[in-house]
């Protein structure tokens, strides 16, 4: 099966002369959830920014449905949604209006919007919050709003950056259930998180970044083999893989 996201030999960063990530290669297929893990500063966010098309690669390429951003900018952007690490909101719009704006931006018609938005509001327990401005929301509510925006569109790829911080336990569960549901309908998900137990439980494949390079990648068994630690939980493997240079 053709991959949705293809990152090939990606080298880049904020400045051409000082790359932060080096030679990153991995793919996300349909029906696949990939966990991007690494310490603070390992290059997770930089990798994600390259995929989003916010940074320019000095080497290598990022393809979604076998197209680069330069080739087909609108089609490229329409094929994913993004949940940022910290909520990025419009102070002038209510929760409901954020959802409407997202629906318009991704070309959803009114009918589809209304069919999808009800269950989402229900799922995240935000039905009575629909006319709230971000100013009056808690961090968790704003995070839920970001998640709802991303899942409203139902794209083929979800890029989710550390989504669990600030969410209440029910919110976390709802998010995970939604991710599984979308995965089952054929979407691909790239998720970065520090909550390794959750990542291990839900992701099919893992990319371990360390100092801007891939330290290990593949299924849990493959990663355990690469670390020479068969049958050991991801936490411990991760600790081994990332500890050498941190001394």
């Amino acid at each position: 099966m053709e991959p949705i996201l293809q990152v090939q030999g990606l080298t880049g960063g904020y400045r051409k002369k000082r790359p932060i990530i080096h030679d990153i290669t991995f793919t996300v297929h349909p029906h696949e959830m990939v966990g991007l893990i690494g310490l603070n500063g390992a290059g997770k966010s930089t990798t994600i920014k390259h995929i989003l098309g916010l940074l320019q690669a000095s080497n290598g390429s990022v393809r979604i449905h076998n197209q680069t951003l330069q080739e087909m900018p609108e089609a490229y952007r329409a094929s994913y949604t993004y949940v940022p690490e910290s909520p990025l909101v419009y102070e002038d719009l209510t929760l409901w209006e954020h959802l409407e704006l997202t629906a318009m931006a991704y070309g959803l018609d009114r009918k589809t919007f209304e069919e999808r938005v009800g269950p989402l509001m229900e799922e995240f327990n935000m039905k009575d919050k629909r006319d709230l401005f971000p100013q009056h929301m808690s961090k968790g509510m704003r995070q839920k709003m970001m998640i709802m925006n991303a899942f409203l569109v139902q794209p083929s790829l979800y890029i989710i950056d550390e989504p669990f911080v600030g969410l209440d336990p029910i919110g976390i569960r709802s998010l995970l259930e939604l991710m599984v549901k979308m995965k089952n309908t054929g979407a691909g998900i790239l998720m970065s998180s520090h909550i390794l137990s959750t990542v291990e439980r839900y992701c099919d494949k893992f990319v371990v970044l360390h100092n801007g390079r891939i330290r290990a990648a593949g299924t849990i068994t493959e990663i355990q083999q690469q670390a020479g630690m068969e049958g050991v939980p991801l936490d411990d493997v991760f600790y081994e893989l990332t500890k050498d240079q941190s001394v």
């Binding site: 990025l88 419009y90 002038d92 209006e97 409407e100 318009m104």
Partner: protein
């Protein structure tokens, strides 16, 4: 050990430096010229009014009202920042010098307003009182003392947790001010007034004593400071673009609902966003203010030329003000993510400004019609209205947008 007084000096220094920097733009903007003209015009009408006003008219009530509001109101600038809730909170016991400096700073500013208001009502006052008017300097000193007591009282009030309690205290203070001022401005320095003032002081001391036992309401102070800073920036923003401006969002359901009428299609998404921004930001209140001023000014002018020129001036003022819409969400992250071309943002800003200007030109046309006399201005006004709205938004503003 941190020296809180030094911290205050740093903050006031940084603020004054910034304010002086911005004042250059304000002076250059031609506002001073406008103010001088406005002052000359206003003084002329003032003297006309004085001549017509019978000396028996009890104008002291107006003076009392104005002063009571000025003496009671006014916020205390503390220059607190949000992070102070974490870093300065533990120092509360040693913050005395810092807050005292805030009170003094606030008083100095308010003293200036008191002086200006007294100067402004002085002709009215002497006109009414004639021989029995008190002289300027003692009145000023007296008012300043009351102002100082009020600022101190205000400071203590702000420890109160309940908004309603703070409002009640301010209300009480206002009544006390009205009582003292009514005697002062109708009878001068008489014994009754001195007793009232003495009572006022006793109450103020009581106030100070009981309230100072409460902890400082940091969150409230930070909130007030934020509001004042944003007011300062939105004032400055009229003259020069201020990068870090934080605006208050108003719901305005009835007007922002109009924006929901745009078709639910992809190419309208930025129109939807900027329509809502216009409806909810300070831009809308500015728009309403200018429209009302326009209606009055154009309506009062009898001359056809004058009407047409005023019509054009109001429209161009509105256009200039609305052009700041382009600053909103200029660097917002999502514009890079949405599968919508970035030029759609510019189109939407232009469209919203155009529609707002057309709406205003239609409303102002009513004032052009008043009083109904047949003339060329009835024809030329719509031409100016539609033509200028179009040229301003689709040509001038678009060029500005493309530049940045």
């Amino acid at each position: 050990m941190m020296d809180v007084k030094q911290l205050w000096n740093q903050r006031i220094g940084a603020f004054l430096k910034e304010a002086v920097g911005y004042s250059r733009y304000i002076v250059n903007s031609g506002t001073i010229v406008f103010l001088v003209f406005a002052f000359i015009g206003a003084s002329y009408y003032y003297s006309v009014l004085l001549e017509k006003l019978p000396r028996t008219y009890p104008v002291e009530w107006l003076i009392v009202l104005l002063f009571s509001l000025l003496l009671t109101g006014g916020k205390i600038r503390t220059f607190l920042k949000e992070a102070d809730l974490v870093f300065l909170l533990p120092l509360e016991g040693r913050m005395g010098p810092y807050f005292r400096a805030s009170i003094v700073y606030t008083f100095v500013f308010h003293a200036l307003y008191v002086f200006l208001l007294l100067l402004a009502v002085w002709p009215l006052y002497t006109h009414r009182m004639g021989e029995s008017a008190e002289s300027f300097l003692p009145l000023l000193v007296y008012l300043l003392v009351i102002k100082l007591v009020n600022v101190a009282g205000r400071w203590q009030e702000q420890r109160l947790r309940e908004q309603s309690a703070r409002a009640a205290h301010a209300g009480g203070r206002w009544l006390a001010n009205v009582a003292v001022l009514s005697v002062l401005f109708s009878q001068g320095f008489v014994l009754g007034n001195m007793i009232a003032t003495l009572l006022f002081f006793v109450v103020a001391v009581f106030y100070y004593r009981t309230l100072s036992r409460q902890y400082i309401h940091w969150e409230h102070l930070v909130q007030i400071e934020r509001r004042m800073v944003s007011r300062f920036y939105s004032f400055v923003n009229q003259f020069v673009d201020v990068p870090h401006i934080e605006n208050k969002v108003h719901r305005r359901a009835w007007i922002s609902m109009l924006v929901d009428k745009v078709a639910f299609v992809q190419r309208n998404m930025y129109t939807y966003l900027y329509g809502k921004v216009f409806a909810r930001s300070d831009l809308f209140s500015m728009f309403v203010r200018l429209t009302i001023v326009g209606l009055i000014v154009i309506g009062l002018i009898r001359d056809e030329w004058g009407k047409a020129i005023a019509y054009f001036i109001i429209l161009s003022l509105t256009g200039t003000q609305l052009s700041t819409l382009r600053q909103y969400y200029r660097y917002v992250f999502w514009t890079h993510i949405y599968p919508v071309p970035s030029t759609a943002r510019q189109d939407a800003v232009v469209r919203v400004v155009f529609v707002a200007m057309i709406v205003q030109s239609v409303i102002l046309y009513i004032a052009v019609l008043v009083p109904f006399t047949v003339g060329w201005h009835l024809v030329i006004a719509p031409v100016i209205g539609i033509g200028f709205s179009y040229v301003y938004s689709y040509r001038l503003l678009r060029r500005k947008l493309q530049e940045n």
